[in-house]
Symmetry: C2
Subunit: 386 residues, 2 copies
């Protein structure tokens, strides 16, 4: 298949705001196009990733068409893609496949979500298709609290170690002008913040967020025809769906993440030790600990102590979530995956400002979605190279 690279990225500040999704999408798309230095008319196909605009806003289709119309782009193929919390990465992935097929040279991916539209709506925000589980309170925080308790039991992971993840991500988020939260927190503040589901406190859970992010992709062999921008190569973009049955024996193992990681490492011809910087799906601090382990940066059970020792800080062995992650930057579902890729592109270009991972050459994003119990969990792992 043809090599594909990213030539432009853009995102809004992630926040709670009063903007229409079209306004956020327009800002992200326009920024990405300007960043790529291309004529908007060069874009030949586009995908929009979103997961809740149908139920929250009545826009189940046409999200991409509306956003692109607002930036003056139409008469090209535009479709919606969705896959729970990794919908944004799916938009990038479909754009990547469309170019890889040889049918298109330049594609755009935009991810967007307007989660504050939940205000006044009674339904809890959870995964589709888990009517039974939702009814008895088995929402994502409840699931990850179970995971945390089991991890504590099996490996001696402590509340302080989970807090260390939140502290790191808040410290990094304070350096990121695009993050929803830009204030550092202390271990006392994390542990004494309101309990959501024991042992997860409020500061161990990602917030409700609005936002949009976009990326322009181009076939590597024709980049020079369109822009002088340094291309960032997509070395792998793996998507795997999980199987609850396979990890039910041990909920501290996310076998979908393991499979997606293995596929991505294999395709890119690298190992976990080669990754300089990564954005991983820290919807809860315990999730980030799991991902350290399941993506191969430490052994199972070592995530907590390693987090506490600064192994995953900006200057650690591998910099995890320099953007502040979902915990600080926020988690506007459809936008999250594209936002992760945007952050990694900035690092690989040396444009990440105060939170730059020095000398970053290889970056990874891990974006997960869905609910394991519904056998609908999806995991993407993308590897980018400068």
């Amino acid at each position: 298949m043809r090599e594909v690279c990213i030539i432009g990225v853009g995102m809004t500040k992630f926040s709670k705001n009063d903007l229409h999704f079209r306004e956020m999408g327009r800002e992200a798309v326009w920024t990405a196009i300007k960043d790529a230095g291309i004529d908007p008319r060069a874009i030949q196909i586009a995908y929009a990733g979103h997961a809740r605009t149908g139920q929250l806003l009545g826009w189940e289709c046409g999200v991409g068409q509306a956003i692109l119309w607002d930036v003056g782009i139409n008469k090209i193929p535009i479709s919606s893609v969705g896959n729970f919390c990794c919908s944004g990465t799916i938009a990038v992935r479909e754009a990547w496949l469309a170019i890889a097929s040889g049918l298109y040279d330049v594609a755009l991916a935009v991810g967007v979500e307007k989660l504050t539209a939940r205000r006044g709506k009674g339904r809890p925000l959870t995964s589709d298709g888990i009517e039974l589980e939702r009814g008895i309170g088995f929402t994502p925080p409840a699931f990850f609290a179970m995971v945390a308790r089991r991890h504590m039991e099996l490996y001696g992971t402590t509340r302080e170690q989970m807090a260390a993840v939140s502290i790191k991500n808040r410290r990094l988020g304070a350096l990121n002008p695009y993050a929803q939260y830009q204030q550092e927190v202390t271990v006392e503040e994390v542990l004494s913040s309101p309990m959501v589901v024991d042992p997860l406190t409020l500061y161990m859970c990602c917030p409700t967020t609005d936002g949009a992010a976009a990326a322009v992709l181009c076939a590597k062999e024709v980049v020079k025809k369109y822009t002088d921008r340094k291309p960032i190569t997509i070395a792998a973009c793996a998507l795997q769906t999980g199987s609850y049955a396979d990890s039910a024996g041990d909920i501290t193992i996310d076998e979908g993440t393991i499979r997606a990681g293995q596929e991505a490492y294999h395709t890119a011809g690298i190992g976990p030790e080669d990754v300089d910087v990564a954005e991983v799906h820290d919807c809860f601090s315990i999730a980030e600990i799991l991902h350290y382990e399941d993506l191969g940066w430490c052994q199972k059970g070592e995530g907590g102590p390693f987090a506490e020792r600064g192994y995953f800080d900006l200057t650690g062995k591998v910099a995890i979530n320099p953007s502040g992650g979902l915990l600080s930057k926020g988690h506007p579902i459809g936008a999250t995956g594209v936002g992760q890729i945007t952050e990694i592109v900035w690092h690989l270009r040396g444009e990440a400002g105060a939170r730059q991972r020095e000398g970053a050459r290889v970056g990874l994003t891990h974006n997960a979605g869905g609910f394991k119990d519904a056998d609908a969990a999806s995991v993407t792992v993308t590897i980018l190279k400068s």
Copy 2:
């Protein structure tokens, strides 16, 4: 790009029923897999097309995962795609691109919708993002009534000519065990059926329908490895978004259909005269008349008289909607495009029973969606060859 073909198809009877979308999806997918004669484990990636499961059922994501779980397929990439009434064709198209890229050899596309879930819900079924238009009653029947009136004014098209489309499609639907309506109608019955929006009577409008359809795609170069089934080649699969601005001067022209058709004919290396059999998007009988013209089977304005003269009957110059079309077979949004492709595959294999277009070698599907006024209209044209 690699050549891709269809090796298996399947669909439920389109109807109003009490089945869960998972049950319908399972039946369609399982039928397609058996039809392909492959091991379900050969499927490497899947896409689910749906347009209203989020707003009607609370399933905005995970539709494909749920259906495939029910047939014993998991741990593969599965995503949702949406693009209004052409969502089903988008599922096929993304599967086609995924194989064309070289990353996968075998892919599955499933389309599904459960429109009877509208029962008891007040909101009219219309396109997303047209809050203003919907509020003043500018729903799809209203739009197509305007088109019809203008076509009558410009070209002298008559109510009887529009009725001729309904009569033909009902006559063909009566031969199709998968069609929602299997009763013929007379010109008097069509014209005296309840008026929806003048001049469109009830029998000139497609009904509310539940259903699912599925297709198995395979890289042509490796078909023999998987099955002895005769492969049907995807010679083209064009997707274009429309622009209201460009057709606002004359609403009887669907310039999105013209562009998608031109792209598909060019890619396939054929012209309209080479098509033996086609399924076109007859959401209203006037729409089918427009598509005759915009897809090049007659000149603008000739659609009405040509329909009346039997030009598009089963034994006519080109057989249009041998399945009975949306008017008879029904229109379960996400399933429609995959159902159209299923019908054409049957014709190209000589398996269409009483409604078989004799000697069919080249088939076409035209699946349109969205609302022109929101600049979100999307049109797909797919060309299949035996």
